[in-house]
Symmetry: C2
Subunit: 504 residues, 2 copies
């Protein structure tokens, strides 16, 4: 019989349901009464705050500043870029009235119909473009390098906490440049920042690549993406950076006089990551006992669990815990003070410990009267067996804690990389491709396949075959070898292998 | 003839227009194409980020955590608290459809009508209450101490940048307690935090007080406020903290089992400050040359302006500037690294200096070849005459800069306090009250009056007289003497003087 786990079902039994249960057990978020919208609870939001802090610093270090643009977009603005509006028309929340009035028979109804409906921003290219058109006159006004932290709304039909919700939080960078080359450089720079953040903070390995034409952002010339593999071997598009060419600049009228005094249309980019990253983080590291957090983003790095049987012991133990917490909290880790909390709630020890395991707190420090006497601390690491204790002298713990956390961080990244490598396969025939993406077990259709590296070509015939298998081209890897070959779907020539996967 | 000022008109000539011009000259915000919504530009947003950082720390230091709740509120939720919905019905943005479809004849129109309309949150008591009702079961679950940073929307008819906009950014704290006493304590604690922030960071003196019944938040039992006086002597309600009693808890069903196992209805509070504070900050300190920023919140503390005539000089001067910047930036000020920038743009020196004056940068450091040679720096302070230079040896500047900034901060607060005191008057007759609030000069109706401390009583007759004068009771001061008297409007007995003013 398998060992009992804190999360039921396990990953192997029912991966999608395991995910929901991990989110619930860690108290990160829940569905709200508003269809498809989530409530991000304090533990989930604290993780988002840490992500924001790190990303925001990286944006600022590369010359970007923050600003804020309106939530509402006039319908006519969205219509300016044809591909763009087509991409978003089916998922727009529309504001049509600006007040409420008494309804005959009781209650209230919308009143004050607007001359022109507004859309709650699904993304802000068009409304920000309207401002940029006013701000940019001369080449001296360029580049514009602005980011916005905001909520956006896309009326999704099938939603899942963090991964796909009607409302989500994100950042959207919007930049304007004098030349195509500069805009492309910006697009790639931000992709690199996302990849660096994913690997070094989320401990989530990613593949940087270019989207195939059918997977581009509506209105973009090129969309770059970072793709990561979840534990069920599906891909998660974790961040995108778009080279918009002159499409949106032309639609919004962003023009400038160049050094020669000649008017030119500008070049723009946009790039974003969202609370979806939290879903990716959960699915990359968590196990059958709940959430596992990469230490560099964990809201708490360590929790101290005092153990005592009476008031006398309580005083001694708590005094020791408080002093330990104070000393640990003086240290810096991942750009902020080490976050240590004492959990002295009146709860059974086992129940309390399991709460922190399920929440993914990296280190648990158990301290009882004997530990106080011996000056050693019982340390339990979330990346190891839940019962594996090591007793560490106080001074050693204090001196080594950030090294331990970094070691855990590195382990998580290495483990995720090994998982991805184990399930990435070069595939050279269509039959092999079909077999790779066909579940071996009808009872557990979720966990199979992985990333297939296969030769490919553009064409509706290719897309149709992929659609049938519910597989998509995730990206043309930027770092992949530029080896030519034959498209396994059509027999047409191929310049390079593409990564295919089932995806979120 | 008066000296030429950077802002036209001056405060004295046309205060409201002066305000708009200060915002524009400092490049802080502008009106958007979306009626009543503003674009917060990078300089304005950086100020908001600093405010957020300081406030967020204070909230967390008092045990609060952040979370995020949905943007949309079902109409039926808003209807649950009768006074509440009445207060907001006239200014609700209503979402009625969830997609767009092709319109006969071209273009798009709303489609997919929702069964129940949603309101874009004007405030979140009802939607957050729905979550709290699920989260709270037992007295052990209390208190709940949560804050949310979010955008909200109130469809205002007359808007003004920062002070009153259809969409604005704010934080809203929502807490739940087991007893009325605890909830009142929380309400007052947060009011104190707001007052402390206003005085010690914004350098904006405030009066803490209780709102009179007609000025309460819709649905609150008690509303506490911080009121500040602008340079035109009008009051600005700068932050509010509401004791909601059991009104919202009863409407949302927030109940708990007490220690005796008996079900009780909980007690709630809510409290918020918004981007309106930025308007208050501008109107408190700025002068006829533009924005003046309190150093503790300034996005940049100092700007270095290199001056040179040729490439040789340029290299020498810039090397000196960079080294100075590096050394200054190592220091901490107001909880973050000292923010120093070098402005080496190719612009006339005068024009460049004036840009920073209009943006309110506290210190300008002018450095030319002679200063490099002598090792002294030309320092210009924004709180002094724009041309008042002092030459300070490099080492002295570095050692004393944070002291100088604090001195400027203190000066701003002292000046604002003196202004308020000069225009606050005890008034004991209705005739005197009318005279106080009647403009002496028809051409400049804005700048007159101030805060009147007068005896008062509840009653429609009193409200009618106030309405005629366009004056409102701002608050019953918490720190005021509890001296009884006679209402100057009705002759009825009064327990205490109330502050009256014209207001934003």
């Amino acid at each position: 019989m398998a060992a009992k786990t804190a999360i039921t079902p396990t990953r192997n039994d029912d991966y999608p349901e395991w995910y929901q249960q991990v989110v619930k057990a860690a108290d990160m978020a829940e569905n709200s009464v508003v269809r498809g919208c989530m409530v991000i609870k304090p533990w989930g939001y604290a993780l988002w705050e840490n992500m924001q802090r790190v990303l925001d610093r990286k944006f600022k270090a590369t010359g970007h500043v923050n600003a804020y643009f309106p939530l509402l977009i006039p319908l006519s603005f969205l219509e300016k870029e044809a591909t763009h509006v087509e991409g978003f028309a089916k998922e727009c929340a529309v504001v049509t009235h600006h007040r409420l009035e008494a309804k005959p028979g009781g209650g209230l109804q919308p009143a004050g119909e607007l001359d022109e409906p507004f859309i709650i921003r699904p993304t802000s290219e068009t409304i920000i473009g309207a401002s940029y058109a006013k701000w940019v006159q001369s080449y001296r006004d360029l580049p514009i390098l602005i980011n916005q932290w905001a909520n956006v709304m896309r009326w999704e039909m099938r939603t899942r906490l963090f991964l796909r919700t009607t409302e989500f939080l994100w950042q959207e960078g919007h930049t304007v440049h004098a030349t195509a080359a500069e805009a492309v450089e910006e697009t790639r720079r931000m992709l690199d920042i996302y990849a660096d953040f994913a690997e070094h903070y989320m401990a989530m390995p990613v593949i940087k690549g270019e989207k195939t034409p059918d997977e581009r952002f509506p209105g973009a010339v090129d969309t770059y993406t970072i793709e990561s593999m979840m534990q069920d071997r599906k891909a998660l598009q974790s961040g995108t950076s778009h080279f918009l060419g002159q499409n949106f600049a032309a639609a919004s009228g962003i023009k400038f006089l160049n050094k020669e005094g000649v008017e030119e249309t500008a070049w723009t980019t946009s790039w974003g990551v969202s609370t979806r990253l939290i879903g990716g983080l959960i699915m990359t590291h968590s196990d059958d006992d709940g959430l596992v957090l990469p230490p560099r983003l964990a809201p708490w790095h360590a929790v101290i669990l005092p153990i005592y049987r009476n008031d006398d012991e309580r005083e001694t133990v708590l005094a020791f815990c408080r002093a330990l917490k104070a000393e640990l909290s003086e240290q810096m880790y991942a750009g902020q003070e080490l976050q240590v909390q004492i959990d002295d709630r009146d709860l059974r020890g086992g129940e309390k410990a399991w709460q922190h395991i399920k929440k993914g707190v990296p280190l648990r420090l158990e301290i009882g009267p004997r530990d106080v006497a011996s000056g050693s601390i019982c340390v339990l690491r979330r990346d190891q067996d839940v019962k594996a204790k090591t007793f560490t002298p106080r001074a050693e713990l204090i001196a080594g804690i950030t090294k331990t956390l970094d070691e855990m961080q590195d382990n998580l990244l290495a483990k995720a990389k090994a998982h991805r490598e184990a399930h990435t396969k070069k595939i050279d025939t269509y039959a092999e491709f079909v077999a790779f993406f066909t579940a071996k077990n009808e009872q557990k259709p979720e966990i199979h396949g992985g990333f297939a590296l296969a030769h490919w070509s553009e064409g509706d015939d290719v897309l149709a075959k992929l659609k049938e298998l519910k597989v998509t081209a995730r990206c043309i890897p930027l770092d992949g070898p530029k080896e030519a070959g034959t498209c396994i779907f059509s027999g047409r020539p191929s310049q390079q292998r593409v990564i295919f996967a089932k995806s979120y």
